[in-house]
């Protein structure tokens, strides 16, 4: 027995080494294959990491709801932490914003890891190394851009900063040059064609131009936009162009189309619905049963203001804001039961309304005619409309959705972070500033012409020749673009119509410097109907343009490192 004791003592050091299971060491991921896998892991962070719907790349809450295109929807008691956000009463302790912050910095951290491993690796062929570096830098710049536009003042660090030093880096608004440098490197060095799911040279270029636009560096932006528009191709090699058929942008069967500059890939049968559009799982009409998509939850209901914006006169929008006047406002079924009689709006409307907003009496994709209140969780609280973009079709159930979780609402269509129409409209802004109003008009009209193709307007189910509403859309004339101010108004309005519900609006309003005016008008308008939701709400200029730095992060890093944004 004593011998045994001695034997066991001498063996004990070995005995107490138990190697981990199911994971890899640093060394095993620092090879070419390992780095490629780390890069895939970095892409995986684009649609969020911590399972919070706020982390979605489409910014349905922080971009669209806050931009006045939609409200939370549903009822007051559901997802209550969104209530103060839609009223611009966000406080720094909000956990959703903390998830967004952590999710994006996780992306930064993964991109940095790729770059650090790449610098150390010896077995990566030069061409692959360039592509990998370009992808990682584009993704890193994307994450930082996202952080910048939400929080404005953020800590910046690259792969050379030691992990231990990162928490002591203070936040600063001056991070554009670093973001630009990454996009620039990728633009200058990356191949044009990578693979359908990746970024490429032209995605980096478009994003770089967007970064310049955000800084009002119009000349720099224009140069790059020109190159993108003239020469750009998608990462799978298709020359950039607008699709003929507007709703095909939002159809999973048509993913990776010629209009997608930077896509988030989405897929089913991956073993986890996070790879489908988990961030959008609540954003469907409510209580549809098998007649409609999703099962849940009636979030993300388009606003009255957005619906009214589609009113046209002579085929053009009412740029003077009169679309909200009672005479022009779109007739809706607010206050009506589904079995109460309702007459659909007969006035002229931009056809994109019925690809963007679910409203009573209009065919809801290939499901049924929107029945009105029956599909709305709480009409008095959130209004009469349902979301309609990025909604899957009945024919796609279980083939382009992932049915393996609690709701059917995991669609597998890619969300397009930057699409070619967006590029054209951003370029139009740059052109206006450069004085080339005519070129701006050309871009805007390209976008409008596509929407004006009557072949693709929403038709009644019982008559494929009968439009579902009175659609009327025209192109702008040179007279309309007669002066810079009006041209600017037109381009901005076109962005609203074309890109509604795609998460851009709030950030556009802020960078244009008009957020307080536009959003306070929006609140006043909506509060007439949605009293409980918006009564007394107010956008505070100088504060509400940016989100608060999450209090949880200040608590960890210290208020001497992270400075809270003004007003919070």
């Amino acid at each position: 027995m004593m011998a045994l004791l001695i034997v066991s003592v001498s063996c004990s050091d070995e005995f107490l080494e138990v190697t981990p299971t199911g994971s890899l060491s640093d060394a095993s991921v620092s090879t070419k294959d390992g780095i490629e896998a780390l890069l895939i892991g970095t892409y995986a962070a684009v649609n969020g990491v911590f399972g919070n719907r706020f982390e979605g790349p489409n910014h349905w809450a922080t971009g669209s709801i806050m931009g006045g295109e939609a409200n939370k929807g549903t009822d007051a008691g559901d997802y209550t932490s969104l209530n103060p956000i839609q009223r611009y009463e966000t406080d720094p302790t909000n956990g959703d914003l903390n998830s967004l912050w952590r999710g994006r910095y996780e992306g930064v951290s993964r991109a940095n890891k790729v770059l650090a491993a790449l610098a150390a690796a010896t077995d990566v062929p030069a061409a692959d190394a360039t592509r990998i570096e370009g992808e990682a830098r584009t993704l890193r710049a994307h994450f930082y851009f996202d952080l910048k536009k939400h929080f404005n003042s953020i800590p910046y660090f690259d792969e050379t900063v030691l992990a231990a030093d990162i928490p002591s880096i203070p936040n600063s608004p001056d991070v554009w040059s670093q973001i630009e440098a990454d996009f620039r490197w990728a633009y200058d060095n990356m191949p044009a064609v990578t693979s359908a799911g990746r970024v490429n040279k032209w995605a980096a270029a478009a994003y770089l131009a967007k970064a310049h636009l955000y800084q009002k560096e119009y000349a720099e932006a224009k140069t790059i936009f020109d190159d993108v528009i003239a020469n750009g191709v998608t990462s799978n090699g298709l020359a950039y162009q607008l699709l003929d058929n507007y709703p095909q942008i939002y159809n999973a069967e048509n993913d990776n189309h010629a209009e997608s500059v930077f896509d988030v890939e989405s897929a089913n049968n991956t073993g986890n619905v996070q790879n489908a559009n988990a961030f959008d799982d609540l954003n469907y009409p409510y209580n549809t049963g098998p007649d409609g998509p999703g099962n849940c939850c009636g979030f993300f209901q388009p606003s009255f203001e957005l619906a009214n914006s589609f009113r046209t006169s002579g085929g053009l929008p009412l740029l003077d804001g009169s679309y909200n006047d009672p005479a022009n406002a779109v007739d809706n079924d607010f206050g009506l039961e589904s079995d109460d009689p309702f007459t659909e709006d007969a006035g002229p409307l931009d056809p994109r309304i019925d690809w963007s907003i679910g409203r009573r009496g209009i065919p809801y994709l290939d499901w049924i005619e929107h029945p009105g209140k029956a599909w709305i969780r709480s009409q008095p609280y959130a209004g009469p409309y349902s979301p309609k973009k990025y909604i899957y079709y009945r024919s796609q159930e279980n083939t382009f959705t992932d049915g393996s979780s609690w709701t059917r609402g995991y669609a597998t269509m890619n969300y397009t972070i930057i699409r070619f129409a967006d590029v054209l409209l951003m370029a139009a802004e740059a052109e206006i500033e450069a004085g080339s109003l005519e070129q701006a008009r050309t871009y805007v009209n390209m976008v409008r012409a596509r929407a004006a193709n009557p072949d693709y307007w929403v038709k009644e189910y019982d008559d494929p020749n009968q439009n579902a509403a009175n659609y009327d859309i025209a192109e702008y004339t040179a007279v309309d673009f007669g002066d810079k101010a009006k041209a600017t108004e037109i381009v901005r309005f076109e962005r609203k119509l074309e890109l509604s519900g795609e998460g851009h609006r709030f950030f556009d309003l802020v960078r244009w410097g008009v957020a307080a005016d536009v959003l306070n008008d929006y609140l006043d308008h909506e509060a007439q109907f949605l009293v409980t939701k918006f009564g007394g709400a107010n956008f505070t200029a100088g504060k509400s343009e940016f989100y608060p730095i999450p209090q949880a992060q200040i608590d960890i890093q210290g208020s001497d490192v992270l400075t809270q944004n003004p007003g919070y």
């Binding site: 991921v29 962070a45 103060p84 059917r408």
Partner: protein, 1101 residues
């Protein structure tokens, strides 16, 4: 032969070393040896006796003079024996020089020489708290007299009395210093905490069964347990060193006895658990719900200054609500007979039965709690066979327990077979083994950690309170009815979920557990023991979920899931004990070495959706769409330990015990793998002093004191020391080629390693005394203790900028302090010769405080519940403290609204918060501490009366000073939270100008903001103190004489009622609310402990 020589060589070398290193010890031994030789009593005079037969008779009584019927009287060394009759009298023939042995269960056995006498009356001393009672500490045993530490023993019958599925539940109130939080699920694990909370996680005690450390004891059949010892302080527990910081519960199973005739026992418990429907929270009936919906609309309009809109799809648009004939008729909601074509709907139903519903209102109101519950039968039977001869002993136990939960589909089953035996091979060598084979299945147990965390979840019990009473369980076609009927928001029919989704599920484990050991006694006083133990478990589960389209948020798919796992753990212990008396010096030297693995194994499970047929016979992983498989392996943690203990006493007056243990664990990196944990304790048996001999006040007095260190590593992941990269289907996979189906594998850092983590250390100080008064009529055991845990391991939240996907490393930073007093009072006596009583009262006082967290970190917030964040673990406060706004009333007038500090969402009838920091505005900085889930006091009291053969027992349990965060009120007490779902009767006491601050809830309205349902505040925090009548029992033991004629040795029948009555101010279902360490006491949907009625039978043959 050669091997032996080598062994001997090593042995002598080691022994020599040991001696030199323990100089003090060798001195004691030398001194002791001299004393032995000097003792003249070692040479007794020889006595010659003349031997003749006598008839001896007498009466056997207990210390109170009560006759003991059925006591055994045996002539030592023969098989001649008898039993006392009903009056305690016996008669026996014996040689005049013989010795009689008197024994009786629960009393100290006495041996009395006949010495030619013909009358011998005997007074038996109670054994239950007797000084010679054996305390099993796992590695060794000692007597109660010798103990210098804080140790409690639980009687086997107390553990077995209430047939819970998990024996640990029965420690509640039975041991001073042990807190037990449990719930009503059969077979659930419970939150057991010995002397407070030492760490920020992993506070479960160490369980040791027959020398084998285990994570849980749910496999044990309480009827198989012989002794249960709770080691509370370092002096007792530190022999378990690195794993003892949370206390140790040591179980030994029944062993049989040598030289005893084989006995067969049968124990049966059978009864029923009542769901206590009458005690369930009151929900609004359909009429009231409609009325209060309209009141809410009126309040909304008043708050917004708009006209009232009565807009509920069922109740109509007039001020007086109406009820439709159908809540739902194939798509139409709130319709009347005249508008409904029943034939057409029936036809539609027949064409598509899954999707067509016809729901009439249940105007009488559905009591959903009643619908999801049932009276649940419980049955346990154990057949035990034990016995032994001069060369060995054995125990066989066969048991079965079947228990339904009060909630539909919950079911617990355990069948166990136990074989324990020990046999001498030679006089100096014995081999023994303990083995148990167990089948255990627990169906539909909700909540994490084996059910402990159920109160934290939105469970089916909560669903029962969210489902409107107007909805019937079934629709007109016999389908389950639900919220497809518009206007009731999103609750799901919990009956359907329980019956369909849980009813066919199966979860079971089959395991073997036990040890084999060798006891070697080479010389007198030396025992060398080698034990090899382990457990192997294999489990499988099958889980069916069914598509259902009748909810407003329907369950989309039929889903099927199944999985298997196995787990193997082992422990190898070698120890030696040397015990010797040198005159008045007694020493006991113990040393050991142990290696163990906490369990290695693999698991695999798969899931998929929408099989062609939902027949249970059809479904498997081959016939589902989108099958996905998960699998994994784990290796467990290896521990290696060396330990020693020295007990010394002089003349049974002065006692000293020293313990030293050194542990290594694979959880830690090579730099800091080992921890050394010493303990020192002493006792003074004052009663043994000469000056105590001439008094009758004290019958025993012992003063004890101890200090020691213990370790803990529970709260550390086994791979904490490594930096790792891993794949995660949801978070690192990406369809990089643009595909719509399937994704490519990616990696991300999954763990940041900390090779320097080391053991948490608890330093315990314990001072106590054991005192008995008036001939043991009153016993008091009191311990004052303090426990400071340092180097607490926890995962300090990493700054988000560093990337939070990777698990943060556990680092040694925080510290925690627990202080308390445990005291036990036992008093016994008799009113008349036939009527005696015994009263046992266990009390524990506890304070807990987090004394530091990481540098620069003052608090860690707990998880959020629907946007409510009730928990803050913070320096200077107890663990799991509630944090939020302090409600100082409601806004009772518009003037009050206008004049109060700015507060988001403030309005008439809403919560008015205290401006805690006095800055003139209500902001998140005004949140403050609102209480804690840690009780100040827990205690149990048992009162036992015996009248002749009749026994009456009542047992009470109390917990005082703990708060509960009643999160379920968020769902039921605000109109606006999931508007339309069921609400509580509290609506009728919601704010009105008349009620003012005496209202039970804010104004009944739709709004949700931080002044209503949108913030954590003191309104949710309730006093969780309670006193519970836990047991009321009658038992009757049949007369031994009668039993003799039936050929039985024991026959006892009993009836009992458990959990009969609870006195509490808590408004929820049950004030016992467990949960994870850093956020327990949050009641989202607890499964209550409810009354239980049992009959029991104990039969001996």
């Amino acid at each position: 032969m050669i091997m032996n020589q080598r062994n001997d060589y090593h042995a002598s070398k080691i022994t020599g070393k040991l001696f030199y290193s323990l100089g003090f010890l060798s001195m004691l031994i030398c001194f002791g040896t001299q004393a032995v030789f000097a003792n003249p009593e070692n040479n007794p005079d020889e006595v010659t006796n003349t031997i003749f037969q006598v008839t001896v008779s007498g009466t056997v009584r207990d210390s109170f003079g009560t006759p003991l019927p059925g006591a055994n009287v045996l002539v030592q060394g023969t098989t001649t024996g008898t039993q006392t009759d009903f009056d305690g009298n016996y008669t026996i023939n014996a040689d005049s020089g013989a010795t009689l042995v008197f024994s009786y269960l629960g009393f100290v056995t006495q041996t009395i020489p006949v010495d030619g006498r013909s009358t011998i009356d005997v007074t038996m001393a109670e054994d239950s708290q007797a000084l010679d009672e054996v305390v099993v500490t796992g590695y060794t045993t000692e007597t109660k007299r010798e103990t210098t530490a804080a140790v409690s023993i639980v009687k086997a019958e107390e553990l077995a009395a209430i047939p819970s599925g998990n024996v640990e539940q029965q420690l509640q109130g039975r041991v001073a210093g042990v807190t037990v939080l449990t719930n009503g699920q059969p077979g659930t694990t419970s939150q057991i905490r010995i002397r407070g909370f030492n760490a920020l996680g992993g506070n479960a005690p160490l369980y040791v069964v027959d020398g084998v450390p285990v994570e849980n004891t749910d496999f044990l059949n309480p009827d198989d347990i012989e002794t249960t010892t709770v080691l509370k302080d370092a002096a007792a527990a530190s022999i378990y060193g690195a794993r003892a910081a949370n206390g140790v519960v040591v179980y030994t199973t029944k062993q049989g006895s040598r030289n005893k005739k084989t006995e067969i026992t049968l124990n049966v418990n059978s009864g029923i658990t009542d769901p206590n429907v009458a005690g369930s929270p009151r929900m609004l009936n359909p009429q009231d719900m409609a009325t209060w919906t309209h009141i809410a609309y009126e309040n909304n309009a008043a708050a917004n200054g708009t006209p009232v809109q009565y807009s509920h799809p069922q109740y109509g648009n007039q001020p007086t609500p109406r009820f439709p004939d159908f809540l739902h008729a194939n798509g139409a909601n709130g319709v009347f007979e005249d508008d409904v074509n029943l034939a057409a709907i029936r036809a539609a139903y027949e064409a598509d039965p899954e999707n067509v519903f016809l729901i009439r209102p249940n105007l009488k109101g559905t009591n959903w709690y009643k619908e999801i519950t049932r009276p649940a039968p419980i049955f346990r039977a154990t057949l035990g066979i034990n016995g032994g001869n001069e060369r060995g002993r054995f125990y066989f136990g066969f048991s079965g327990q079947e228990q339904d939960g009060i909630v539909l589909s919950q079911q617990f089953k355990r069948y166990a077979a136990r074989f324990n035996s020990e046999w001498d091979i030679t006089p100096w060598l014995a081999v023994g083994q303990n083995f148990q084979a167990t089948y255990r299945s627990a169906r539909a147990i909700f909540g994490g950690n084996g059910g402990v965390d159920v109160a934290d979840d939105e469970s089916e019990v909560l669903s029962a309170y969210r489902m409107p009473t107007i909805i019937p369980v079934f629709d007109e076609f016999g389908s389950y009815a639900s919220t497809r009927a518009a206007g009731f928001n999103n609750p799901r029919n919990p009956v359907r979920r329980l019956v369909k989704n849980q009813g066919n599920d199966e979860t079971y484990g089959i395991g073997g557990f036990g040890n084999v050991y060798l006891n070697l006694k080479p010389v007198e006083g030396l025992l060398i023991r080698s034990s090899l133990g382990g457990a192997y478990n294999n489990g499988h589960f099958v889980n069916y979920d069914f598509r259902y389209l009748g909810d407003s948020e329907p369950e989309a798919s039929n889903a099927f899931q199944e999985g298997s796992s196995y787990n193997f753990q082992w422990v190898f212990t070698n120890s030696a004990t040397y015990e010797k008396l040198f005159g008045k010096h007694k020493i006991k030297l113990f040393g050991g070495i142990e290696a163990l693995n906490t369990g290695r194994g693999r698991f695999i499970n798969g899931r998929g959706i929408n099989p062609f047929s939902t027949s249970l016979d059809f479904q498997n992983l081959n016939v589902v769409q989108s099958p996905t498989v998960n699998s994994g392996q784990f290796k467990g943690v290896n521990f290696f330990s060396v330990f020693g203990k020295l007990d010394y006493n002089w003349d049974e007056k002065y006692y000293v015990t020293g313990v030293l243990r050194r542990d290594g664990s694979s959880r830690f990196g090579a730099n800091s793998r080992y921890g050394t944990f010493p303990a020192l304790s002493g006792a003074w048996r004052v009663i043994a002093e000469p000056f105590m001999q001439d008094q009758n006040f004290f019958s025993d007095l012992k003063i004890r004191g101890g200090w020691g260190e213990m370790g803990n590593s529970n709260n550390v992941a086994p791979d904490n020391q490594y930096s790792l990269y891993a794949s995660d289907l949801g978070n690192t996979f990406y369809p990089i080629d643009g595909q719509n189906s399937g994704a490519n594998q990616g990696f991300a850092q999954s763990r940041i390693g900390n090779p320097d983590a080391k053991w948490e250390t608890s330093t315990t100080t314990n001072i106590g005394f054991d005192a008995s008064f008036w001939d043991n009529h009153l016993e008091i055991i009191l311990d004052w203790w303090q426990k400071e845990t340092e180097d607490l391991l926890f995962q300090v939240p990493l700054a988000g900028v560093t990337g939070n996907f990777a698990a943060a490393p556990a680092v040694n930073v925080a510290s925690m302090e627990n202080k308390g007093v445990d005291f036990q009072v036992i008093t016994r006596g008799n009113f008349t010769e036939d009527l005696s009583f015994e009263f046992t009262f266990n009390n524990s006082f506890l304070t807990n405080e987090i004394t530091s967290l990481a540098p620069g970190i003052d608090f860690i917030n707990g998880p959020g519940y629907r946007g409510i964040n009730p928990i803050r673990n913070s320096v200077g406060n107890p663990i799991s403290s509630f944090f939020g706004y302090k409600v100082i009333g409601y806004f009772n007038s518009q003037a009050e609204v206008d004049s109060s500090p700015p507060q988001d969402g403030k309005g008439l009838g809403r919560f008015r918060y205290e401006d805690v920091n006095g800055d003139g505005a209500i902001t998140p900085d005004d949140r403050t501490f609102l209480g804690s889930a840690v009780p100040d006091y827990t205690g149990g009291a048992t009162l036992l009366f015996r009248y002749k053969n009749l026994e009456f027992e009542t047992y009470w349990y109390a917990s005082l000073g703990n708060e509960i965060f009643n999160m379920s009120k968020w769902f039921t007490d605000f109109f606006g939270t999931f508007e339309g779902s069921a609400k509580g009767e509290v609506a009728k006491r919601s704010w009105t100008p008349e009620l003012g601050n005496s209202a039970a809830a804010p104004i009944w309205e739709s709004a949700s903001n931080i002044s209503t349902s949108g913030a954590e505040n003191s309104w949710y925090v309730e006093d969780g103190s309670f006193l519970r009548l836990q047991r009321l029992a009658f038992a009757y033991s049949f007369d031994p004489n009668l039993l003799d004629s039936w050929g039985l040795s024991r026959f006892k029948i009993g009836i009992s009622a458990n959990n009969l009555w609870t006195i509490t101010n808590y408004s929820g279902l049950d004030p016992v609310v467990a949960g994870p360490d850093t956020n327990f006491g949050i009641d989202v949907g607890n499964f209550p402990v409810t009354p239980q009625y049992l009959v029991s039978l104990e039969l001996g043959l």
